[in-house]
Symmetry: C2
Subunit: 355 residues, 2 copies
């Protein structure tokens, strides 16, 4: 039976990507060697590495003002690296608080200086993106999380954001068309939209390198990685390869315009059902709904066991909600197919019929 | 043609390990899902994760005084984490300098306080392990690199080491029997003896957690990882799985006693030929020769092209030396088979015949 994987991350990848990744573990480029046992400085891997960077550049339409890195340690290490590199002693950094992950970023930022939480939606259990806030002048940088996996909210309008814009794009990277050059530093764990766990994409404006003037430990210094062309130390070879394959697949689908169209279609299908079906209520306010993570609850908790066994029987996996929200979370990242969303919607309709 | 992979790292893995890892990329535990797309908190992955930790504990014979973690960022990030966690303000840390990697560790240590290089073999291009040095009392810790990949030297006697012993074991981890409980902190990138690139093993004595009293960023704080049972953030799922398989394979071979016996046999075979064959000279002094990386040069450089084409034709890969030493480096890690070393020795003998 086909499994429909709505996991919040690590999450679904395309079958062709998995097939190629599996083959490479046995034999990369017909070399007779596994991808896992070749040098990261070998011709084969360097080509893979450079291709990943090139594809990011192309899809984000990045000029030479930007550097692209694949690091390790996830967004959690970026919460540390970004203030180390950008936060000058004595300054104030601004953070927008829209969920657990931005709260974690704030916690780490505070270890480097004065942090101002410019706006927060904590009071309403992060069911919305704060609006109408004023970003102070002279912030060291303004940090935000573009998509909030747990709560199912997403920032759609960046027009009032100003100063040096730093964002955690872990859960909606390369899922939509955006003017990526409006941002100064973008980072994202690969394991939701662009690959498996184990590597973190960092896109940084060159002029921000060496900004903080701190004595930064080498691994934590973006400028060190840039000076070594992204190979300061052994990169996570397999996660980067699977990411390269995913980016390639994304391009073959038609790139960001095509994937955004598909993602919108999937999201609309599911949100329409949530709004139509009297058994369900969405968590996020409508205008801030995420195209990536759809959060909803059953109005009548007594239907839980019935509903859970129905979607499990249908081959659906990973739709349990995070404990902070409860209910359900359907993660519908790039590689999730429309038919999987249709199946979930069908199960929701069936529940209505028999309830 | 079978390729004999003497790469210095990432390096050779056992064929059965590769086969299982390749299968898991398509379907893990017959779940219908790829290992790459399941949650790191799923039953399937948690079992893999716990097994890796258990196998390390078992092979190193670790008591409950130790914690075992699988982190990211390689030894390079450990160069930073170890002083952050262990180096108290105002103290002095001691480092033994035996090669490029220990020099890098020293460089990072200096960002946290006063560093004393207790002994160094830099003057003789790191062809030996310094002896007869005195380790001062009251050091914050004493740091050393147990095996030096580039130069082919290895520490065999730790009996005079004292204080808090911290070591980079990246290139000889789990390759020999040792009293591992004589060390206080051990770290190792997986990509030489125990897995592919992308995860770093850290073994730390519990009493060292929170030692430095610094305000440590969360990802860099061993105590944070320990408090979260090693899952503070999404671990590198695939690299850890391939590591679990490699540790399992190691155990099936008979564990450390058996692998040490094999590694000695491989090393003796190759060093005997280097010493016997008038065309070659070893780089490292005999008593400090590494069982993992065998470094040697041709006495007559004019034979280089001939020799290089001969080993390439034999299916040998990855024996070019590092630029710091020149000549050749045969890395004969755990998973390299005796027949591969025999083949290299045969080629060396053939060169002698025709030279």
């Amino acid at each position: 039976m086909k499994i429909h994987n709505f996991s919040a991350g690590p999450s679904v990848l395309n079958q062709e990507v998995l097939k190629k990744a599996s083959e490479a573990v046995l034999n990369i480029n017909n070399s007779g060697l596994s991808l896992l046992e070749i040098s990261h400085r070998s011709k084969d891997f360097v080509a893979i590495f450079e291709q990943a960077i090139l594809q990011v550049r192309k899809m984000m339409k990045l000029s030479n003002d930007y550097e692209v890195l694949f690091l390790q340690g996830g967004a959690s290490l970026q919460f540390v690296m970004l203030p180390y590199n950008l936060f000058r002693e004595g300054g104030t950094a601004g953070y927008l608080e829209t969920g657990n992950w931005s709260s974690s970023a704030i916690k780490e930022g505070k270890k480097f200086g004065n942090v101002q939480v410019v706006a927060s939606s904590k009071d309403t259990n992060f069911d919305r993106i704060p609006k109408d806030f004023e970003i102070p002048d002279n912030l060291e940088y303004f940090h935000f999380t573009t998509n909030n996996t747990i709560y199912g909210t997403q920032i759609k309008d960046f027009s009032n954001f100003k100063g040096i814009k730093v964002c955690d794009m872990s859960s909606d990277i390369l899922s939509r068309e955006l003017d990526y050059s409006q941002f100064d530093l973008i980072y994202a764990g690969a394991q939701k939209n662009i690959g498996p766990a184990g590597t973190t994409l960092v896109v940084i404006k060159k002029e921000l390198l060496n900004r903080s003037q701190r004595d930064i430990p080498s691994y934590l210094d973006y400028a060190v990685h840039v000076a070594k062309d992204g190979m300061f130390n052994t990169p996570p070879v397999f996660p980067i390869y699977a990411t390269t394959l995913t980016l390639q697949w994304l391009e073959e689908q038609g790139g960001l315009p095509a994937i955004e169209k598909l993602n919108k279609k999937k999201a609309n299908l599911l949100y329409s059902e949530i709004d139509r079906n009297p058994l369900f209520t969405g968590h996020a306010v409508k205008e801030d709904r995420s195209m990536m993570n759809v959060t909803f609850v059953l109005n009548d908790e007594s239907l839980k066991n019935k509903f859970d066994s129905m979607w499990k029987e249908a081959g659906i996996s990973g739709v349990n909600g995070h404990r902070s929200v409860g209910g359900y979370r359907a993660s519908i990242y790039n590689a999730l197919e429309l038919e999987s969303v249709q199946l979930l919607v069908n199960v929701m309709k069936e529940l209505e019929q028999i309830a």
